[in-house]
Symmetry: C2
């Protein structure tokens, strides 16, 4: 069902590009949708990409441009003149056109805008690129059909007919009052089944949800998900209808948000993917590795203070990795649950005590199981004092890790810091240090008393 990019296909295309075999390429791409063609172009070098792009249908080309990787698009557009760029974005939806333009260098932006033939499109784009990234304004498109409440169904249909060329996909018509303030909506279905002479004010749905241009993208995304909306009108500070956001734009926001948390929790500080350059990948990871190093050094100083104990009881050292690893594991488990709950909005209310108690309950159960097992093992293999040290330290470390894994992300969230960002690194490093301390403290106590 879904298009799969094969090595044979890529090889065939590359050869055809070399031989300038335009017919072969056009035939090969004829059946494909824009996202699939973009997938192919992403794999090519810039000369090959430009050659293929040149051969695309005028209708398909702008859609392919939109689906390209940011890197590839930037390089491809750099080979175009301002006029050529203007031609490509002239027929795009205004939000997509604004996205493409805002990626260009500032001096070129104006040039491109001046070359756009459709004056309305140019002014829409000029408006849209002014909204801050990460707000509803930057997500919205200007293409929409609005009618006055006093108009009739047939006037409304006439309006739709006029705008049909501009608005690609249409789900609803918006109803505004004389001051352009959004007062309701009308589904196309309702429009179709209503009498042509019926007045809009008699049939429209006054209960319409909207967001402001300044509403943050994440809130828009949550809002549309929660209320299962496919399209959402955007109003300015005075309540006037200025644009609309469709679900496909929000799906991208959702994916970005979901994609952000895992790398953050894994100690990767920047948005990188496997296709990025080596030094960028290194730079994104080194900060947290350095945090881990500092933690390790603090740990080494702590263990260092027990030098004499280790000399007499070297078996104490055997279980250092186990204590550290288990603290880390439990801490990550606890914080993952909390980070996810916060991302999902499934954690309600701001009373964190019950959550802490529950996590400590889970920690106690699992801690007792693990401590019991390790006690049995160490008792059989080593001696009872080591067994008592390891098992009691393990239980304490698991309880500590449960507490920190819950408390740290909740607290960070309260102070408006992304809990995923530092939870992984912070919790793991802290647990390592606390683990070593507890372990040697208990060991020295037990060995010195008995």
């Amino acid at each position: 069902m879904q298009f799969e990019l094969s090595t044979e296909m890529m090889d065939g295309l590359k050869q055809a590009i070399e031989e300038q075999n335009a017919t072969y390429i056009k035939d090969g791409l004829y059946d494909l949708y824009a996202p699939d063609i973009a997938l192919i172009i992403n794999q090519l070098n810039i000369e090959q990409a430009a050659y293929i792009y040149e051969l695309l249908d005028d209708e398909v080309a702008p859609n392919v441009l939109l689906e390209l990787d940011d890197d590839t698009r930037e390089k491809l557009l750099a080979t175009f003149s301002s006029k050529q760029i203007a031609e490509q974005i002239d027929n795009m939806d205004s939000d997509d056109a604004a996205d493409v333009i805002s990626e260009l260098p500032e001096d070129i932006q104006e040039e491109v805008l001046s070359h756009i033939e459709d004056i309305e499109q140019a002014s829409d784009i000029a408006e849209l690129i002014n909204y801050d990234e990460g707000t509803a304004g930057s997500l919205m498109a200007k293409e929409l059909v609005s009618v006055y409440a006093f108009e009739t169904v047939s006037q409304c249909i006439e309006e739709i007919r006029k705008q049909a060329d501009n608005v690609d996909v249409m789900y609803a018509v918006y109803v505004v009052d004389n001051n352009e303030k959004l007062i309701g909506m009308l589904s196309l279905k309702k429009l179709i089944i209503s009498h042509p002479l019926a007045r809009i004010e008699e049939i429209y749905e006054p209960d319409v949800q909207s967001v402001k241009t300044t509403t943050p993208s994440e809130e828009v995304s949550e809002f549309m998900q929660k209320y299962d909306l496919v399209v959402l009108p955007v109003v300015d500070q005075l309540g006037r209808l200025v644009g609309r956001i469709t679900i496909d734009d929000v799906v991208d926001v959702m994916r970005e948000t979901a994609d952000e948390n895992m790398p953050r929790m894994s100690g990767i500080s920047d948005d990188v993917d496997t296709n990025d350059k080596l030094w960028r990948l290194s730079r994104a990871r080194i900060p947290w590795l350095l945090v881990g190093m500092c933690g390790g050094i603090v740990g080494s100083r702590i263990i260092g203070t027990y030098e004499e104990s280790i000399k007499i009881h070297p078996e104490m050292a055997y279980f250092i990795p186990l204590i550290g690893a288990m603290g880390g594991n439990v801490g990550v488990q606890s914080s993952a649950i909390i980070v996810q709950g916060l991302a999902n909005n499934s954690l309600l209310g701001d009373n964190i005590t019950p959550k802490l108690i529950k996590e400590l309950g889970v920690g106690l159960i699992n801690g007792l199981i693990c401590a019991g097992l390790i006690w049995g093992y160490a008792f059989l293999i080593e001696d009872w004092r080591l067994a008592a040290t390891v098992s009691s330290a393990l239980l304490t470390v698991i309880l500590c890790a449960s507490f920190l894994g819950t408390f740290v992300p909740l607290t960070m969230n309260r102070f408006k810091i992304n809990p995923a960002l530092a939870t992984g690194p912070f919790v793991t490093t802290l647990n390592d240090i606390i683990g070593s301390t507890i372990y040697f403290l208990m060991g020295r106590m037990l060995y010195s008393v008995f």
Copy 2:
């Protein structure tokens, strides 16, 4: 903009429930949308929930039911008779109704179906609950408008008018041939702007994408995202139109998929959230903790073989946690990037060698930075032999972890095992063991030679 649940509001409602103050409750809930009312009911005990649910408008109640947490819905429905359940789902979309019914015990399912008044709805539901969970069939709804290619625009509008009550939201009309095979679609916009006597076959769009009832949900979700689709028709094995999937159902699938990976990578084996019971939370986490324990025990045996070295050079023990932690950190970073790339489909082709080389490159850069720093530290604080041991072991461990963190998830993925499932636990434990081994091996070598 968005509804916020306040403690005052909850307290007010609870008191009103106690006093059976129906007017207060109705007034309080009047302005709210179904998802918000569901949010409130989720926080109540089952008697309170049932009381409030009883007071809801007939139109709002089914939507609230759909938005409730699975647990709450199950408990609430258990207080209903089969006839009452049937009344609630009679007006739901068929896919939602099927979801609710399939959660009920088998014997009750038939009873409920027999009480549904709308025969067509009952037979649609009976069909839908037969599709396997996780397939397009289980996601789709039966509500759609289809027309024959030989019909006219005005016949088509007549059909829409007839079905208007059943189909809540409509984006397009599907075109089928005489054998009910899907051959194209027609947007409502196109329908509105076309002449009433135009034949469908003259104006429809023959290029329509569809999936089969057996297509896996994740594929449906990827497909709709990739091609920016709002609605997708579903056909049976013979190509006959049987239903349609809307983007809001797929958004849920997306969220579930995104939500799955983080807990898996954090060593949580089951779908749990903070609201689950204590023993369920414990049980979901203990398997990986036991894996970690086994790894720790293996580690202890390895260190145990170096007992003599530790007695003479107890400072060797100081850096055990650092080596282990750094191996873990690097491994998790590498595997997170790969798991995310696999989830995103941004990893193309099946040649893993270039990815391994790149990861090893990143590992080498970061390993050299970390090893250099720790060498400086250990040289200043301890002695050159320990510095050489720690730094060379650290570099080796980081390289190993980069390799494993890349190789393990890619290999698991090739064998169709969810790479997130065992990557976290597996990679971390393996790194711990390898880390200790390398560290002590190098230490003994250096100390025995010099």
